[in-house]
């Protein structure tokens, strides 16, 4: 399974729809302080099923919806869609016949959430289960957040065990 595209709309500082295409190799993300680079990481963790607002630097989940700027009002909805390409590896059984898999997550300011896999409604559990087997689950070693690189070295021996277990 390969990551192909990420569409962000109304999530944190992304008031307008933004599309990031990931080609093979190394994609660099650059820009001044505070412009929204780590917000892309949060968008990715969120669409993959992150349920704790604190892990997205917020107090409650509504904090991830665009809250306005000096020239724009707050929005009522945040939506992120992640498109993956199926190259035969690491894809859970029930999705093996799809060429592409699109995962969408929406949150309305009134607290309602919507989840979809390939445009068909599903539950949050379906999304977390989908990603669990691939190694990119929300706790895994494949997303290293800003300032956290050395945490695996500074963690307690029992906590390090969990990381090895996820790769087992």
């Amino acid at each position: 399974m390969r990551i192909k595209k990420l569409e962000i709309f109304g999530f944190k500082s992304f008031a307008d729809r933004v599309v990031i295409n990931f080609d093979a190799g190394v994609t660099g993300i650059v820009g001044p302080n505070g412009c929204g680079k780590s917000n892309v990481v949060d968008a990715l963790r969120w669409v993959m099923g992150e349920q704790n607002a604190k892990h997205l630097r917020g107090d409650q989940m509504q904090d991830i919806i665009f809250n306005g700027s000096q020239t724009r009002g707050a929005m009522g909805l945040a939506e992120v869609t992640l498109t993956l390409e199926n190259d035969g590896q690491l894809v859970p059984q029930e999705y093996a016949h799809f060429e592409e898999i699109e995962v969408t997550r929406r949150l309305y300011r009134n607290g309602n959430s919507e989840y979809e896999i390939n445009k068909r409604e599903c539950r949050l559990r379906d999304i977390t289960e989908f990603f669990l087997g691939t190694g990119v689950g929300t706790k895994a070693y494949s997303i290293i957040e800003q300032g956290r690189v050395s945490s695996i070295v500074q963690a307690k021996p029992e906590e390090r065990r969990q990381i090895i277990e996820e790769a087992a």
């Binding site: 399974m1 994609t27 993300i29 700027s69 800003q146 500074q154 790769a167 087992a168």
Partner: protein, 165 residues
Amino acid sequence: TKQRFEEAFRAINERFSQVFPRLFRGGKAWLELTDPNDLLNSGVEIFAQPPGKKLASIALMSGGEKALTATSLIFAIFLIKPSPFCLLDEVDAPLDEANVDRFSLMVQEMSKISQFIVITHNRRTMEKSDQLYGVTMEQPGISKTVHVRVKEASLSTNLGSEMAY
């Protein structure tokens, strides 16, 4: 699951002891189980000895040495169980110029097995990417992205000015 944990531990440990000397240009590193008789609960200890130094507790290592040791372990796990992508947010911030070069060379190599997404302020790391996304806030408070193919644009000031606040 005891069996699987032991196999994963052994495989990751082997890789870790290969990746570390490549990032540090020497030295050695390895993992040990805190309680080998209790595979279900045992913790994992990390030993790392940079080149020319005596083995000491990892707490005494420097900020850059800790970051590089952690990166070696993450890459080792990645080599055993590749996942669809790996995302590193300013992992190169504590590194000096020589280590940034070694780190980004390794990222390029790893990107042959899966995609890497690297957030950085370091020009040396930007130059080694295959494609770049600039995130800007031309309208204050609102993020937009600008796509740049690295081969096309020399990382001159034009990217700099595009990215300026």
